[in-house]
């Protein structure tokens, strides 16, 4: 075997990307892998988006017009799974890949080959998951939370493929997170102490910790499903002494930290953009760090607020209600700090700043509806209604997604060396802003009035709100195609960008030329105090 090992040892040690398609398959470069993650997540975003539009088309009017209820269920399930695991999470990992090595002054990610593995698992895993839609008996139809026994006793056969796809995604996330933690803790330039790290790095450090803590729990949950389905165990079957509610506990022990995995990096991004365009230091850096850490800690002890109506002991309901409300405190710290950062700043409103401000406002609205849902007796009314749908879409779409879009506009000059077209960017912002609110705001009302979620048909009284919502969804969906156009136009013909693409931008990535060289920092840069706490 040894001659085989030596055979591939005449790698040329050239310092640029290889040519052709193999570059993308074989790369170990954090920027290439970041790019792969970002394009992959955008592709998944479009696929998940098409599913959302199928749902909204069916819900445009009451009655069943276009699709069967069975297929509707597959659409809601796969829309959720693809957006969570395929769009939002990989997009943040892509940003982490691109930015963290530059922001901490490292040559690359700590474990570059494993980094490539983390990415390449994803296309295979998602091919598996999407292929279930074409299998006999259809794809997963039990909601993105895949509660037992819907996902075990009553599941289609394709659930087995879904289970293994989740295992693969989990492995990918864990390896990606290990890489991020090792990079941050081990590869910072001299002088970059923990409390000098940029907020995006801090938020990702904590996010990676959450991922490593909860992805294995999800793996455990789907493994128990697998055993219940194929080996006749009774984890989630009361006839054998198990409990379907136990599935919900285990799932949400993963699921609630997962929710913060999808928002903490967004906090980091916004904490870069607002100071840049307010031309002020980030207000309360230290409290921002502690707030993120507190939110992460609390995320482990609030999970059962997703299950208030399932029949928990009263003590459990009270505990989870109060612990959930406690999260409003560190989150409030963050929101007030962003506002204080803007206070009396020399503000300008370029596209990233518009998305960031919209993030602060609309995410806070999602937070407030979350606070309403945290109140156990009130949740008895809201549970499984469109109010919940409105709530989590407000935190995930104008929350997580807007922050990702803001990050793309903010750092695309650094990535490509080209500046996007400002008026097209603003147009994209306003279309998205209007689209998202027209889509999701009415859902608060239909939910409060009692419209259940995950239902292909509804009572006539909800018709108007649903029609408005569907129109908004199409505006929002097509404005993301416009986003694609803006990005491609930037890459092909954007105006050249300066190294420090924004005059107020701080941080090590901005001392590099634009586009950033293929290998950013072979030797660690000097960490100057004026580059700290952008």
């Amino acid at each position: 075997m040894s001659e085989v090992i030596h055979a591939d040892h005449h790698d040329d040690h050239a310092h640029g990307p290889a040519k052709g398609m193999l570059r993308w398959l074989y790369t170990t470069n954090h920027k290439d892998i970041g790019t792969l993650y970002l394009w992959f997540s955008f592709a998944m975003f479009l696929i998940g988006g098409v599913m959302a539009l199928v749902i909204r088309t069916e819900l445009f009017q009451p009655g069943l017009q276009f699709i069967e209820p069975e297929f509707f269920n597959q659409m809601t399930t796969n829309h959720g799974l693809i957006m969570v695991f395929g769009a939002i999470m990989p997009a943040f990992v892509g940003l982490a890949n691109w930015l963290i090595p530059m922001q901490v002054g490292a040559p690359d990610m700590a474990l570059p080959r494993m980094n490539n593995l983390s990415f390449w698992i994803l296309p295979f895993a998602f091919s598996m998951m999407i292929s279930t839609l074409f299998m006999e008996g259809g794809g997963p139809n039990f909601g993105w939370t895949f509660y037992a026994p819907l996902s075990t006793t009553y599941a289609p056969d394709s659930v087995t493929y879904f289970i293994f796809a989740v295992h693969l995604m989990g492995a990918s996330s864990i390896m990606g997170s290990i890489n991020i933690i090792a990079t941050i803790l081990n590869m910072r330039a001299p002088g970059m102490t923990l409390m000098k790290m940029p907020m995006f790095v801090w938020t990702w450090l904590i996010t990676a910790y959450l991922l490593i803590a909860v992805m294995p729990v999800l793996a455990g949950a789907v493994t128990m499903m697998l055993f219940d389905i194929h080996f006749n165990t009774s984890f989630f079957n009361a006839a054998g002494g198990g409990d379907p509610v136990m599935f919900q506990h285990i799932f949400w022990f993963f699921g609630h930290p997962e929710v913060y995995i999808m928002i903490l990096p967004a906090f980091g991004i916004v904490s870069h953009i607002i100071p840049t365009f307010a031309r002020k230091q980030l207000f309360g850096y230290t409290s921002m760090v502690y707030a993120v850490a507190s939110i992460a800690f609390l995320s482990f002890i609030v999970w059962a607020h997703h299950m208030f109506t399932v029949g928990m002991p009263l003590a459990g309901q009270l505990f989870f209600m109060y612990s959930t409300m406690l999260i409003a405190v560190p989150t409030g710290v963050k929101v007030f700090n962003w506002i204080a950062t803007m206070w009396r700043g020399s503000m300008t409103f370029e596209t990233p700043m518009l998305f960031a401000i919209a993030f602060v406002v609309l995410f806070t609205m999602g937070g407030f509806s979350g606070l309403m849902l945290a109140i156990t007796p009130a949740d008895y009314q809201y549970h499984d209604t469109y109010f919940v749908v409105a709530h989590f879409h407000y935190v995930l779409v104008p929350g997580a997604l807007f922050s990702i879009i803001a990050a793309v506009y903010f750092w695309i000059p650094k990535w490509t060396g080209k500046m996007y077209d400002e008026s097209l960017g603003k147009l994209h912002f306003w279309l998205s802003f209007i689209g998202v609110n027209v889509t999701f705001f009415p859902q608060h009302f239909s939910g409060l009035a009692g419209m259940p979620r995950r239902i292909p048909d509804y009572a006539l009284q909800f018709a108007d709100f649903n029609m408005v919502s569907s129109i908004g969804a199409f505006i929002f969906g097509f404005s993301q195609l416009f986003f694609l156009y803006v990005v491609i136009k930037t890459i092909r013909s954007g105006a050249p960008a300066k190294g420090r693409s924004w005059e107020g931008a701080k941080g090590l990535e901005w001392i590099l030329p634009s586009p950033a060289p293929y290998h950013s920092f072979t030797y660690p840069p000097e960490v100057k105090s004026e580059e700290v706490h952008g």
Binding site: F124, S127, A182, A213
Partner: protein, 309 residues
């Protein structure tokens, strides 16, 4: 072979592009889709074909072999500076943490079942009403040897619970007790092997490491024996209700980890015979031993909560 002189040891070595990751990802998909197809065929009464998952497994093993060989070779060529070595340490540490959380899911299930589900089904506690409506005849005991609905989940004849503390002769015939002693001993022997690497006593390294591997194998043999006993003599199976479910998933995944750990230690043994480890550079061995200690700690938890308490 690139000589170490042309590598600047102060810089962090970023490997050139390579084919391992994408091929490994492909192999993984081949393996798990094969397995999923197999399981579904079995479930629907078919024979079930193993071929695809085996090909996938072979593929994965081959790529992993090449990948690890490459990493060993790079280290021997002096390409890894101190910072990179520390990245490996962080990587292994956090990987073990992820494994801890994987077991936490199953331990959590065990605790939840014992503390809440079984009492409720038996008509005790806050949600006693569940039991009163569903299966009024069910009595809450642990281990559950009489299931709520024995027509669907056949009752196990007996559980694996440990004998009474005072009953010393029964402990003398209790396999899990021997397994505990074996695994704890192996944690000590692997530590002696580490000491031997630090003092560079070649024969001792090989001796202690070989002993550790042998102890691992003995543990596995005893566990197989225990499983056979459970299935054939006790009627305790995966489908005999929640006790069997939690028992087999916890001990089974632990056994799987022992298998993996034994194999990793075996690889380290071959590397030790080849003289790979020096006093200051033996990360392959050290990470294997951390993994082994972790597996050992999990067993202690298992022994306490699955067998004794």
């Amino acid at each position: 072979m690139s000589s170490s002189t042309e590598v600047d040891n102060s810089t962090y070595y970023v490997p050139e592009q390579g084919w391992y990751p994408v091929f490994l990802a492909f192999g993984l998909m081949l393996m798990v889709t094969g397995l999923a197809g197999f399981l579904n065929e079995i479930k629907n009464g078919g024979a079930g074909g193993w071929t695809q998952s085996l090909v996938g497994f072979a593929f994965v093993s081959f790529v992993l072999y090449r990948w690890f060989a490459k990493v060993v070779e790079e280290n021997a060529a002096g390409m890894n500076n101190a910072t990179l070595k520390k990245s490996y340490v962080w990587g292994m540490g956090w990987f073990i943490f992820s494994e801890v959380m994987f077991f936490a899911a199953f331990f959590g299930a065990l605790f939840y079942v014992r503390e809440f589900v079984v009492p409720w089904l038996g008509g005790e506690g806050d949600k006693a009403v569940i039991g009163e409506y569903l299966w009024p005849a069910f009595e809450a005991t642990w281990p559950v040897v009489a299931n709520p609905n024995p027509e669907i989940f056949v009752n196990p004849g007996e559980s694996m619970a440990s004998p009474d503390v005072s009953n010393l002769s029964a402990w003398g015939a209790y396999l899990p007790f021997y397994n505990t002693v074996i695994l704890l001993t192996s944690s000590v022997t692997v530590h002696f092997a580490h000491d031997a690497i630090k003092s560079q006593e070649r024969n001792k390294i090989i001796g202690w490491l070989a002993l550790t591997v042998i102890l691992g194998i003995i543990f596995l043999i005893l566990q197989v024996e225990e499983y056979i006993h459970a299935y054939q003599a006790l009627g305790l199976t995966l489908d005999s209700g929640i006790y069997g479910s939690t028992f087999f998933i916890l001990t089974g995944f632990h056994g799987f980890h022992v298998t993996l750990g034994t194999f990793i230690l075996l690889v380290q043994l071959f590397r030790a015979i080849k003289g790979h480890f020096t006093a200051n550079d033996c990360f392959g061995f050290e990470s294997a031993s951390w993994y082994w200690h972790f597996v050992d700690v999990v067993w202690v938890g298992l022994f306490i909560f699955v067998y004794v308490v």
